[in-house]
């Protein structure tokens, strides 16, 4: 099997995982809309939880993995780690777009405002903008070694911001609610809601795996073309 065929096969596998994961996510969305109870104080808008919070988690996880892969690249100089970091950054931005659009749609009916310049929201926006810069920087550097090295440094710098985003609701006075699932004590959601939320997390995770596998394959194919 030639390298190009190997990359195409990986991309096809990623596309299949993506397709199946998106079908599963569609099923979870239907469950969330039709089968979960309506919260008394927030009304139907509370159901945005099932689409917003998992997207935010996947986005932070993707950016975290960019930092980890970037550190790995600087130590090992393995180009595959750089390609993975590039893929995870782009997928993190896709989930970040979901997070930053569904968040205001939830905030408007519940907080009475689309946006607040408070710590959690501002830090999250900064993190996403940092990765927009990361992606733009990659397109501006022609030499593959320089591109990988500079990108790794930015990826590691962004990694520092990730825990601050998660912990900002504990560290600062903020309008954003504290976690109801990812916290030291037991989840504070009734089982009918928690069940669908966990299903949504699993479906989102599968979408992440599908997206990253596909994007990684595309990146490896492009790197092979660049080298030849």
């Amino acid at each position: 099997m030639t390298a190009t065929n190997e990359h195409d096969s990986l991309i096809r596998r990623g596309l299949w995982i993506t397709a199946l994961a998106l079908v599963a996510l569609g099923g979870v969305f239907a469950q969330a809309l039709l089968r979960t109870p309506v919260e008394r104080w927030q009304g139907p808008a509370q159901k945005i939880l099932y689409v917003h919070a998992p997207a935010a988690t996947m986005s932070l996880m993707a950016f975290l993995l960019v930092g980890v892969a970037s550190m790995g690249y600087l130590f090992l100089k393995d180009r595959r780690l750089d390609t993975f970091a590039e893929a995870s950054a782009e997928v993190g931005l896709a989930f970040g777009a979901v997070m930053l659009t569904t968040g205001p749609l939830w905030a408007r009916p519940v907080w009475g405002t689309w946006w607040q310049w408070e710590p959690r929201l501002t830090l999250t926006l900064l993190l996403v903008l940092l990765f927009v810069g990361y992606r733009t920087m990659r397109t501006a550097i022609d030499d593959p070694d320089d591109r990988a090295r500079f990108s790794a440094v930015v990826g590691i710098m962004a990694l520092v911001l990730v825990p601050f985003v998660h912990l900002s609701v504990y560290l600062f006075r903020t309008i954003h609610p504290q976690p109801v699932i990812f916290k030291p004590s037991a989840p504070s959601l009734p089982w009918e809601m928690l069940r669908v939320f966990l299903m949504s997390m699993v479906a989102y995770l599968a979408v992440y795996v599908g997206f990253v596998t596909t994007r990684y394959g595309i990146g490896r194919r492009a790197a092979a073309a660049e080298a030849s």
Partner: protein, 36 residues
């Protein structure tokens, strides 16, 4: 207190998320097909 009637925001959020995720999936497929 009556439960708020704000289903429009919920439908908008699910629609936007679906469009963004499907759109990104299609963009990956197009990149695969174009060979770039």
């Amino acid at each position: 207190m009556n439960t708020p009637q704000n289903a429009g925001y919920m439908i908008a959020a699910y629609s936007v998320a679906s469009v963004l995720l499907l759109g990104y999936a299609v963009s990956l497929f197009r990149r695969y097909r174009s060979g770039k």
